[in-house]
């Protein structure tokens, strides 16, 4: 059967792929496999970026943070926002802001009986906090801080174990106030939070803003954590919040607030990129080898074409056309196998708990990551499949094409002699 496609030159290139159908099929499958793996890697990296933003938002980091000037440099808990109440009210009115949660922090010693632990006590707004910090929404036991009721504390499981405390116990909380005087308060343990990560649980110690203010002697709010309602619109919301805040404070991105998390994600992305690149390079070398073999097998034929007057550039074009046809076919096959898989995993998720061991949750830079990972799926997968497969096959065809261009036309007759 003849394929009526374009010019004889195009037909020659496309039909040449059919000379050794098995080799062509294996090349297509190989490229499609490599491209599929690379696509999955990209989907993972993109998904990880969004998942990390969500995780940061749900771990108290927020999508952005309104903080006093110099906070980024000093990370000083004693810094406070000016006119914080009014600022908080303004930020909460910004379109796209899901929640704006105020915080004040203090380094304290929590003790019961002969046991004590040193923790960072976070003063929170009990009404806003459950919407900002996901692992205190459902406590492992007890209840969360009741709005308007002071004198209560919620601790992470690990801290409670270290203290040997139980719900209802009165814990002594001590710290130095702004004047350097020792202050203490008795707070009742009303709730125990269990995030699934012992590392995270070690850092959960929350009381009302009023209790922290009483202990530290500082009334104002230290920072406002902002969560956007749409994870895809973080940048826009950040710009709006920055406009509202003006010069009163800094509006930090979650990446600035949690650099360790960003570094972790960047490391993962780099690893995934390198892995995908290695797969593509291996595939590329395989295709280059197959293409070179195909050219070598046609050395006599190419010499005949050169003898007939086909220029080196046209010989290059023919081999590159073959590479392009391979790339298109491989792109289609890559889409056929990788797209349904990525689409499925993007909705069903990949449960990573099997890899976490006993911990059952993954914490990175103080942020609790979701154990079920969702690669990103979108229209980009389709065009990226073709971009990668075409890039791989065209690059792989370059050396065979140059080899073909060097064909000596005189060998067309010499071989016959």
């Amino acid at each position: 059967m003849s394929i009526e496609l374009g010019t004889p030159l195009t037909r020659y290139a496309v039909r040449s792929l059919g000379r050794n159908a098995r080799r062509t099929a294996l090349s297509v499958v190989g490229i499609a496999f490599g491209v599929g793996v690379a696509l999955f890697g990209l989907a993972w990296i993109r998904g990880e970026g969004q998942m990390t933003a969500r995780a940061a938002a749900g771990s108290g980091v927020g999508h952005m943070r309104v903080a006093p000037h110099d906070f980024l440099l000093t990370r000083d808990d004693d810094l406070r926002l000016s006119d914080a109440a009014e600022l908080l009210a303004r930020v909460r009115e910004v379109p796209g802001v899901e929640v704006a949660a105020p915080y004040a922090r203090a380094g304290v010693l929590v003790a019961i009986g002969t046991r004590s632990v040193q923790v960072e006590l976070t003063g929170v707004d009990p009404e806003a906090e459950p919407r900002a910090l996901r692992f205190i929404r459902e406590l492992s036991s007890g209840h969360y801080l009741a709005p308007g009721e002071d004198g209560q504390i919620v601790l992470g499981t690990t801290l409670v174990e270290r203290l040997g405390a139980e719900l209802g116990d009165e814990l002594v909380v001590m710290t130095m106030d702004r004047n350097g005087d020792m202050q203490s308060a008795i707070l009742v343990l009303v709730g125990i939070a269990s995030s699934g990560s012992r590392q995270i649980d070690t850092g959960i110690a929350q009381a009302s803003l009023a209790d922290v203010a009483a202990l530290t002697g500082r009334d104002e709010i230290a920072e406002i954590t902002v969560v956007a309602s749409d994870v895809h619109a973080i940048d826009e919301v950040h710009a709006r919040v920055a406009r509202v805040v003006g010069g009163a404070a800094d509006v930090l991105t979650w990446q600035e607030v949690a650099p360790a998390l960003v570094a972790g994600v960047a490391t993962d992305a780099a690893f995934m990129n390198v892995a995908a690149l290695i797969v593509l390079v291996v595939v590329l070398l395989g295709v280059a080898s197959a293409q070179l073999t195909a050219v070598l097998e046609r050395k006599k034929e190419l010499a005949v074409l050169a003898a007939l007057g086909m220029r080196a550039s046209a010989l290059v074009r023919v081999v590159l056309m073959e590479g392009t046809a391979l790339g298109v076919a491989a792109g289609i096959v890559a889409i056929a196998w990788a797209v349904p898989l990525i689409a499925h995993l993007a909705s069903a998720g990949v449960d990573l708990r099997a890899f976490f061991g006993e911990e059952q949750s993954l914490a990175l830079g103080g942020v609790l990551l979701d154990p079920v990972f969702y690669p990103e799926f979108g229209p980009w997968v389709f065009w990226m499949a073709f971009v990668m497969s075409l890039a791989a096959t065209i690059v792989a065809s370059l050396y065979p094409a140059v080899f073909a261009a060097r064909t000596d036309p005189a060998s067309a007759l010499r071989a016959d002699a």
Partner: protein, 236 residues
């Protein structure tokens, strides 16, 4: 106009060609002088290794001489680069090979069109010219067949069609009947002679076959890379 008055299409003056294979030097041509005039059916004969194919390569602008001067259609090959020689072949020369050397993945018509496409001929012109030349060579009914669906004789006729489709001034054929039986060889040579007489196509072909030589209007015998004899004659 006598034969000597006809324009010279290709000439070789004191041409030498040496091939180096490893440390071995092979002198394929040792001072060849020859002129090919328009309208000739020139047969290059001689034993194997006498330099027939090497001389065809030079006259066909496929190669350059080690020494001496080869001028093809007014172009001194010594001054032409690879690309310019390709342009010269494409524009003015045709080739017929011993083993047909058709492109196996293209049909007879596409094989003929291929050369026309390389010359930049538009689709309609390619179609018309390939149909015309295939019909002229008795291949109209075989135009959509691929080479493996044609006999040896038919394939070589397609090869001739491909060689003459672009109306070259000079067609070079390297032992064109070597793979054909007597009947097909005779038919092919009759066809080439007809193209020579009716269309004025100039042929230079190498051969061992005395029956093929009978169709030549001039016979140049090469021995050990030299012209041993050069005789004009009446073609059969």
């Amino acid at each position: 106009m006598t034969d000597d008055d006809k324009p010279i299409l290709a000439s070789a003056k004191d041409v030498e060609k040496t091939f180096v294979t490893g440390k071995v030097e092979v002198r394929a041509l040792r001072g060849v002088d020859i002129e090919v005039r328009e309208g000739e059916m020139l047969a290059l004969v001689g034993p194997s290794g006498s330099g027939k194919t090497t001389l065809l390569n030079l006259l066909g602008a496929l190669d350059r001489p080690t020494r001496g001067e080869v001028v093809v259609l007014g172009e001194d090959l010594g001054k032409l680069g690879k690309s310019a020689r390709a342009r010269l072949r494409l524009g003015s020369l045709g080739f017929v090979f011993q083993a047909y050397n058709l492109v196996p993945v293209l049909t007879a018509r596409e094989n003929v069109e291929f050369v026309l496409e390389l010359r930049g001929a538009p689709r309609a012109e390619r179609r018309a010219r390939s149909a015309e030349v295939l019909a002229d060579l008795g291949l109209a009914g075989l135009a959509d067949r691929r080479p493996n669906e044609l006999s040896g004789g038919q394939q070589q006729r397609v090869a001739v069609a491909r060689a003459v489709a672009a109306r070259p001034k000079l067609v070079l054929a390297d032992e064109p009947t070597a793979n054909l039986d007597s009947e097909n060889a005779e038919q092919l040579m009759a066809l080439m002679r007809r193209l020579n007489v009716e269309h004025g196509v100039t042929f230079v072909f190498s051969t061992h076959d005395p029956r093929v030589v009978a169709h030549a209007t001039r016979i140049v015998t090469l021995v050990d890379g030299r012209v041993a004899s050069d005789q004009a004659r009446e073609a059969a």
